[in-house]
Amino acid sequence: MKVDVVQKVLKANDDIAKLVRSRFDEHGISCINMISAPGSGKTSLIESALKQGLSGVRIGVIEGDPETTRDAERIAKYDVPVVQINTAGGCHLESQLVLQALDKLPLNDIDLLIIENVGNLVCPVGFDLGEKSRVAVVSVTEGQDKPFKYPKLFHTANLVILNKVDLLPYVPFDVEEFTQGVQGIQPGVPILHVSCTHGDGISDWVNWLREQVMSDKNKHE
């Protein structure tokens, strides 16, 4: 006997993501999911945004890592609510883990929730966390072929950040080929050139974050 099902295998994750999204709506929170390889600079980007400040926008952070609370400790120095999720070796965050983390955050005091996913360009992509926008981060030391190798991430990203541009004089990285690769998959997606160590592009990054919150606020009013 055959039973036709035709159902997404990650439906359970999608269903919980929907629930998470409705919690965000309830509390007027805009959520950002940051995806990159390990070491591209996700934590540094969050730190840079916190350092600069978002004038009146209250930030919360969820840190996803296989082990340790090191990233959460880095963020806690800025005196913002932060929850560390350890995936115990798991290569990506799932909506269930985010749902649990919400219980540990003061949701009424957060306008912008930044989730730093586990460092990985493949696994996090298929798992909706209930976010409003996705940010893909690549650093110039990783090579310009990333959009060609990981098209789905770049197709689903709302913002692409090219980080560590201060190192461009020292490493062979073809910015034009990278840009073409990203545009070939998703024409029109914004690409920011950033250096967390030198400060280039940080104000663009902060402005983009602020826009995410403002567009939601407009919707509510």
Binding site: G126, K152, H155
Partner: protein, 115 residues
């Protein structure tokens, strides 16, 4: 290794269907796997063989159908399978579009022993 999460989810789904159908043994599972999902089919099969033990899928064979990427051109709506990682419409040369196939993993059907 997102394969493991996917398999766990798959087995939960199959167990649910078993319950609904009031069956105890699944003989075959058919999965459609989009080629944008980066599933290593060997790893996937290996992990499935481990994970199915002690479940209603214990005796099940897994049939994986790999689906190529299909894009609908954002300008002329032509549907094509991109030949390159730059999604270039063969009809009008526009770049980019909507993914209409190849980015999902779908449980297509489940077969049960008839006795």
């Amino acid at each position: 290794m997102h394969e493991l999460s996917i398999i766990t989810s798959l087995i939960e789904q199959v167990e649910q269907i078993c319950k609904e159908q009031e069956k105890s043994t699944v003989s075959k599972i058919v999965l459609r796997i989009g080629s944008l999902e980066y599933i290593n089919t060997e790893t996937f099969l290996f992990m499935f063989e481990q994970a199915k033990e002690g479940t209603c899928a214990e005796k099940a064979e897994l049939n994986m159908i790999i689906e190529p990427i299909k894009i609908r051109c954002r300008k002329c709506s032509e549907i094509y399978e991109p030949e390159d990682t730059i999604w270039l419409c063969p009809k009008c040369n526009e770049i980019g579009g909507e993914i209409i196939q190849g980015s999902e993993i779908i449980l297509e059907s489940v077969y049960f022993d008839d006795n």
